[in-house]
């Protein structure tokens, strides 16, 4: 039984994550460059937006802070869509190693700030190593 672990991470945490996985004997993985947005909608200035008192809503935000909202207004856009560059690591492991890998990725990547990323675990039906024709667990370890 194999599972695929998909982790969406900060760009600068890929190196440490790969080192950690290497130490566990998991050298094989797929790395993709992706863009993402989270609950804050890609607005990395969310914290600044929150600091502005509600009564100054429109004016002071626009004058004092460059936020996606003020950027959109000054560029006559109706609604901005902002993306944050991320890296996606996909690694297929036997289900017995799942918790170990998830714990490692979490401990390496946790900074406590928004944008640390997500880990998804999904089942893999079949796996074949093309070179040898091995199937199942043999094909990924």
């Amino acid at each position: 039984m194999l599972v695929e672990i998909t982790a969406i991470l900060r760009r600068d945490k890929v190196g440490p994550t790969m080192k950690g996985l290497d130490a566990m004997g998991l050298g094989a993985m797929t790395l993709t460059t992706v863009n993402g947005r989270g609950l804050q909608g890609g607005n990395v200035m969310t914290d600044i937006d929150r600091e502005v008192p509600a009564e100054y809503e429109s004016v002071s935000k626009i004058v004092n802070h460059l936020t996606p909202a003020s950027f959109a207004l000054s560029h006559s856009l109706t609604r901005p869509v902002f993306w944050i560059p991320k890296r996606m690591i996909q690694i297929v492991v036997p289900v017995s190693m799942k918790d170990e890998v998830v714990d490692l990725i979490m401990s390496v990547n946790r900074t406590g700030w928004m944008g640390d990323g997500k880990i998804f675990v999904s089942p893999i039906g079949e796996s074949v190593r093309i070179r040898t024709g091995e199937r199942g667990t043999d094909s990924v370890l």
Partner: protein
């Protein structure tokens, strides 16, 4: 049970889809630029054949109950009516973790 919805849509429809999803309360998603072709095997314009057409893949992981809503929203927002509008795939996700808090959802 959580589900991963992967939608392959026209690049020019990306903004419409994202804003439509956000309006329905699904702001969080991941996008990748991909290349693909469909059962028409690409496009032939005169003597030139294009078989790697640029697309945008949007990936959303969500609760099972939200899947019909999301699929519906994407289908309406990405619709043009010609070949190349794209596909939506739904696959199972057994666990999902938020790294910042360590919270686990199943």
């Amino acid at each position: 049970m959580m589900k991963m919805v992967r939608a392959i849509v026209r690049p020019e429809k990306e903004n419409d889809v994202v804003l439509a999803l956000e309006a329905k309360g699904f702001p969080a998603l991941t996008k990748t630029h991909v290349f693909g072709r469909g059962k028409q095997k690409g496009i032939t314009v005169g003597p030139i054949h294009y078989d790697e057409l640029p697309k945008v893949m949007l990936m959303i992981v969500t609760e099972e109950e939200s899947v019909p809503v999301i699929v519906d929203v994407i289908q309406k927002a990405a619709f043009v009516g010609y070949e190349g509008d794209g596909k939506i795939f739904v696959s199972p996700v057994t666990e999902s973790y938020t790294i910042r808090t360590g919270a686990k959802a199943e």
